[in-house]
Every structure is written in C-alpha cells, then in structure tokens.
C-alpha cells in the first residue's frame, strides 16, 4: 500500500467516524485550530479530555456506590462531561450525558447506573478510535514499513505496527 492509499484510508476512517455519529463537526472545528505554530493542538486538547473524563467517570462511579447518593453533585459532574465532550465533538458521549442528567434530576438510581455504563462504553470507544487516528497521523511511514513485514491491512492494527517499527528501529526482527 503506498502513501497516497494510506492517506486515503485515513480520510475514509475519519469520515466513517462522522457517519457513525462518533464525532461531529465540532471535531472539525478543533482540527481547524491546529496550525504550524500549534502542530499538536488537537492531540493536546484530546488528551486533556481523556484525563478529565476519566476523573469524572471515576467520581460518578464512586458517587453511585454511596449509601446516600448526591444527585446534585453528580448532575454537576455529568454537566462537565457533557460540556467537554461537546467541545471536542465526541457526539455519542455528549448525547448520553443529556440522558444521564435527566436520570440525575429524577433521582433515578437504576437509570443512572445504566447510563453510567453506557457512557463508559462510548467513552472507551471514542478514546480507542481517536488514539488510532493519532497513531496514523504520526506514523504513515512507519506503517508502510511495517506492513511490508507483517502484511497487516486494518486501521485498527496501527498500535501493533508502531510497536513493530520500534522493534525494527532497535535492530530486532519481528517475532512470528
């Protein structure tokens, strides 16, 4: 696979994320803020989002384990998560947060627990997908080299490819 095809694959992959509702146009806005002066802007902001979201999800889990559940505090935390997911274009997470807030307002424990699980799942998905995208951005040449060696042809194997290249760089050979 040559570089042009690889780049095409990246574009197709990104497009599918939009079509499937994982990302919305706010992510495009975010990308447009990146320039030569701030070449890592998207990665930086998305990393902040990951860190902040994980903190909030942990706190929400703990809150739901308490004897007396502080719905008001939970609602404020879900509001935060809704805000940041909206700001980076993590569409599915944002939509689930809206539902989550309704359950908080209704003080519905079952609903909250179920929603939290769903949010964690969607958060996990978007995290994996975004990480895949960044790996591709950083290493199209790496991918090309390692594909010659391993014959892998799926965008979801980029992590592996990165690792393989590191092995090659270190003078080692790829284990069969």
């Amino acid at each position: 696979m040559d570089l042009v095809q690889l780049q095409r694959q990246l574009v197709d992959y990104r497009t599918s994320l939009y079509h499937e509702g994982f990302l919305d146009e706010q992510f495009t806005q975010l990308q447009s803020l990146q320039d030569e002066n701030n070449p890592d802007f998207v990665v930086e902001v998305v990393s902040l989002f990951f860190k902040d979201s994980e903190r909030l999800l942990n706190e929400l889990s703990k809150a739901l384990e308490q004897q007396i559940i502080d719905f008001k505090r939970m609602d404020a935390q879900v509001h935060q998560l809704k805000g940041s997911s909206s700001s980076i274009g993590a569409h599915r997470v944002q939509k689930l947060c809206i539902v989550f807030r309704n359950y908080c307002e209704a003080q519905n424990v079952e609903g909250c627990l179920k929603c939290l699980q769903q949010v964690k799942h969607e958060y996990g998905s978007i995290k994996t997908k975004l990480e895949s995208m960044f790996q591709v951005n950083l290493g199209p040449i790496l991918y090309q080299c390692s594909k010659l060696v391993s014959g892998i042809d799926s965008p979801f194997c980029f992590f592996e490819c990165q690792l393989e290249q590191q092995i090659l760089n270190a003078g080692g050979s790829i284990p069969v």
Binding site: Q29, E44, F49, D52, G83, S84, S86, S87
Partner: protein, 162 residues
Amino acid sequence: MLYQIMDGDYGGSCGGCSEDMTVEFGYEPHVLAVDDNLIDRTLVEKLLKNSSCKVTTAENGLRALEFLGLGSDQRNSLEGTVSKVNLVITDYCMPGMTGYELLKKIKESSVLKEVPVVIMSSENIPTRINQCLEEGAQMFMLKPLKQSDVKQLKRHLMKYRS
C-alpha cells in the same frame, strides 16, 4: 478609559473595515476568559488568540475578580485606575459564583462597568439569556464556540468601541 486604537480615522464606524485593518493597526484587545472547564478554557483561549487577542484565563469568578482588582481584599485599590481588560468572556454555569453573578459585580464597579461582558452557555434558555442581557451583558453566545463566533465577536467589539 479603554484601550484606544492608534489611528482614530479608521474606527469601527467605517463600513468597509476589515479584520485585516484592525490587525494592521495593532488592535490586540486584552480578554479575560472565565470558565471552570479546562477543555473549554483551552479552546476559548486558542480561538481568541487566533483572532489576535491577548488572553488571560481564570477558572472561576473569584479568580476573575481578583485579576480585575475587585477581589474582597482589594477594596478601593482600583480608584483612579484603568481597566486591564477590554473584554470579559465568561461561562454562565460555574460552581460558586455564576457568570451572571460575575457580570453583576463588574457592572457594579465604577471603574469596570464599561468593560463589555459576554456570557457563554451550552444551554439555550431564553429567560437566562434575557436576564444576562438585562443586567448589561454585551452578548450571549452558545457553546461550543466556533472560530466564526469569535471573529463576529471581535467585529462587534470594534464597533462598540467607536
């Protein structure tokens, strides 16, 4: 007294004014951006810097007031001074002091009441919007903000100043 453009002939009243001219004449408004959400704070800062603004951020209303010189231990320290900032842009929903409460405090200050304040919110609630506008907010903007929103804000700010 607010920050003045160097050449008054090219003020905002000129219909043909483009953003290039404002940058050309060196207008870099100093904006105080207030938001408790770190991601949003990072984004609004970038959006403003992309529009040639100098930016200071604050994570809550109290810090914002301290920066402006209106902190509780800074009584009367502002007398006879000039506002450090040309614009305050603040989130509405913040723990402790809301953006609305911050707006009120700024408007109550004799030195700072002329500083335009813009409120941001992720929620489109007409009563909230009206409440802010009635209290003297310059504009109300829906989050998430886009570059075009900030460009429009800057144009609006230019007109307001002249």
